[in-house]
């Protein structure tokens, strides 16, 4: 209860610390605006024109639908890769042989360009939900897998011995010795995978589906509507930023808090 209270009390301070990020973003918008003035609206619409278009799309109502479709695909693919990658990575990490065996396979998976997976997925699944979901899954899986594998492999043996010597209960060993260490590897991998999932899903949709943000991007491109393209990009990046800073970063700080003590 006290922990919860402390965590809740920390929320305003965390939100306030976002001003630094906002300041950096505004500096970036200034650079963007400058680029727009140099190259003209047809090549690079200004931030204001982009946000105006986005506001128009959102007010129209259709944008929410496309975003929901894209978010659903990205999140399903991400959740699948997260579950499979974490579990398999942890198991592989427990055994030296399994780690050795999995390394070349992971290298193949990481080395395979997502666009190649997309082509295969199109052949296998056609132009439905399954294609982008599969592409997201297969692109994110190795990232999470490697994170989980390394987290388990790098566990400090001495700490394990100490835990054993003090006859630490199994639950306590898990929550106080293993979990904090493993999670500190897993979490950054999850965040990287989430960013990846958003990028991949838009790419997959652009080439394979009739709906979603990627498809909307394809339409705006064919109409040479740079402002609408930028608006869609801004929407995707904005959503990613919001999820990362409002959901993942606070959790990351919480689970990595122990590192500061070292």
């Amino acid at each position: 209860m006290n922990l919860l209270r402390a965590w809740l009390a920390g929320i305003p301070a965390y939100l306030w610390s976002g001003w630094g990020a906002i300041s950096s973003l505004m500096l970036f918008f200034a650079l963007w605006d400058w680029g727009a003035q140099v190259h003209g609206d047809l090549v690079l619409p200004s931030p204001l024109a982009t946000f105006d278009t986005l506001a128009g799309l959102l007010a129209e109502g259709s944008a929410w639908q496309e975003l929901m479709v894209t978010a659903r695909r990205a999140l399903i693919g991400f959740a699948l890769s997260l579950a499979a990658g974490s579990v398999l990575g942890l198991i592989a990490g427990l055994s030296m042989t399994a780690s050795m065996m999995s390394r070349p396979i992971v290298t193949v998976l990481v080395g395979m360009p997502p666009i190649a997976w997309l082509v295969l997925a199109l052949l296998w699944f056609g132009s439905g939900d399954a294609t982008p979901v599969f592409t997201v899954f297969i692109a994110c899986f190795p990232i999470v897998f490697v994170g989980a594998l390394q987290g388990t492999r790098t566990l400090d043996d001495q700490l394990k011995d100490v835990a054993r010597a003090y006859r630490l209960p199994a639950r306590m060993t898990l929550t106080d010795v293993y979990l904090p260490h493993v999670v500190s590897y897993l979490f950054p991998a999850w965040i990287a995978a989430l960013g990846m999932s958003w990028k991949i899903v838009v790419m997959a949709e652009l080439l394979s589906t009739p709906d979603g943000v990627g498809a909307a991007l394809a339409v705006s491109r064919s109409h040479l509507d740079t402002a609408a393209s930028m608006a869609w990009i801004a929407a995707v990046v904005g959503l990613l930023l919001a999820v990362e800073y409002l959901v993942l970063e606070p959790i990351k700080r919480e689970v990595e808090g122990w590192r500061a003590i070292q």
Binding site: G20, L27, F29, A30, Q37
Partner: protein
């Protein structure tokens, strides 16, 4: 005559320490200027014939007259304290003060005697300050306070631009940016001492205030970039985004200040509000530029009539007493005056809002009155402190010596 007048004047307690004549001049001249400006706006007084017109005159005198006097007073007291060099010699202080006053007179008369005497006297004043402070600041190991020298140099360039440049107003905007950066530099030093001193005196443990350099640097960088781009590309959207970046960076500074209920201590809260006004000012400028609203000037008034004036007031009421050998003033007038400054800045913003255009004159007058009242209150309460001898009858700028029976909390409200 000269041989007796100057030593006689310099021997007056007013010249005991660098801040005394200049803080007096800051408040006195500020009230006078705004009274005259209000009378001019209402048509009661003729507009002075200065190159660039009345608005340039108004801005120049408030920035390079009113604000610069307080900067001089602050540096004349702070630099010896920071670097351990000797405090300014009384005669030299008298000379500096006379030079500043002559600069004011010359600028008022610029229509009749050309701008050049004013340029010479005003720039001479800044040059004198720089020459005086450069050696101790430069010799200080590690040069932790060298940014004050850069700020002085930047102020001098901005002032020279007013006299030499084609568009004097744009150079006054540059001076505004430099002053905001100077406030960030000065406040980081003042707040570290003041807030941690207050926490110490109150026996608070576990709470620490740190003015973190990366946050400060980001704020100064964003303000500096906005100022430069606004100067080079006036009214451009890029400067609008940069103003918003400056606003967010100043809000980001306040992360250091959220230290729980101690924030509401009157000394801490006054300085805290300075950053709020600064952030709101830059935010308003940014939104006004991007939205093409006629509120840029209102935003600038939040910076100058709000943030800068409150910073000046806060520094004067703290340093003005401590370095005159008095403990901090705990009377009621002080928060009242600070509130008046904030109210003045907000009224000035409201006066520029198109919906309230019908009441603009009333709001403008109200704003001027509140601002003048704040500094008049300062004058009334600080006259004996600044003009009279120290309570310990000593010389110099020393702080009061703590006595055994001194009340426990001098910093408390």
């Amino acid at each position: 005559m000269r041989q007796t007048l100057i030593p006689g004047l310099a021997a007056h307690p007013l010249f005991l320490c660098g801040f005394r004549p200049f803080y007096l001049a800051t408040a006195g001249y500020g009230v006078f200027l705004l009274a005259v400006w209000s009378a001019m706006l209402s048509g009661g007084l003729p507009i002075p014939e200065v190159p660039g017109g009345a608005v340039v005159w108004h801005a120049f005198e408030l920035i390079h007259g009113f604000a610069l006097a307080s900067v001089a007073g602050f540096l004349l007291t702070a630099v010896p304290e920071f670097t351990g060099c000797a405090i300014v010699d009384r005669r030299r202080l008298l000379g500096l003060f006379l030079l500043w006053s002559a600069g004011r007179v010359a600028y008022w008369l610029a229509g009749a005697i050309t701008i050049w005497p004013a340029a010479l006297l005003n720039l001479g004043f800044l040059a004198w300050l720089a020459v005086m402070f450069a050696p101790p600041i430069w010799r200080d190991p590690g040069r932790p306070h060298v940014s004050f020298l850069y700020a002085l140099a930047a102020l001098a360039i901005a002032q020279a631009g007013v006299f030499l440049g084609a568009d004097p107003m744009s150079w006054l905007y540059v001076a505004t940016g430099v002053l905001m950066i100077l406030i960030v530099i000065a406040m980081s030093r003042i707040s570290m001492r003041l807030i941690n001193g207050m926490l110490d005196v109150e026996g608070v443990s576990g709470v620490e205030y740190l003015a973190r350099p990366p946050r400060r640097d980001l704020a100064m960088f964003a303000i500096g970039l906005f100022t430069a781009v606004e100067f080079l590309l006036p009214g451009n959207g890029v400067s609008g985004w940069l103003a918003l970046a400056a606003s967010a960076a100043v809000f980001n500074l306040l992360n250091d200040w959220h230290i729980g209920r101690h924030l509401f201590n009157r000394w801490v809260f006054m300085l805290y509000l300075v950053y709020w006004l600064m952030a709101l000012g830059y935010g308003l400028i940014g939104v006004a530029i991007l939205g093409d609203w006629p509120l840029v000037s209102a935003g600038r008034h939040l910076l100058l009539a709000g943030a800068m004036s409150l910073a000046i007031f806060a520094v004067m009421v703290v340093a003005g007493r401590i370095h005159a050998g008095y403990w901090l003033d705990r009377r009621r007038w002080l928060p009242v005056a600070a509130t008046l400054i904030v109210a003045a800045a907000l009224c000035r913003v409201l006066a520029a809002v198109p919906v309230l255009a019908e009441r603009a004159n009333f709001l403008m007058a109200l704003s001027a009155l509140a601002w003048m009242a704040a500094f008049a209150l300062f004058l009334a309460h600080f006259w004996p402190v600044l003009v009279g001898p120290r309570p310990d009858n000593a010389a110099g700028c020393a702080e009061p010596v703590p006595l055994e029976d001194t009340p426990k909390s001098e910093f408390a409200c």
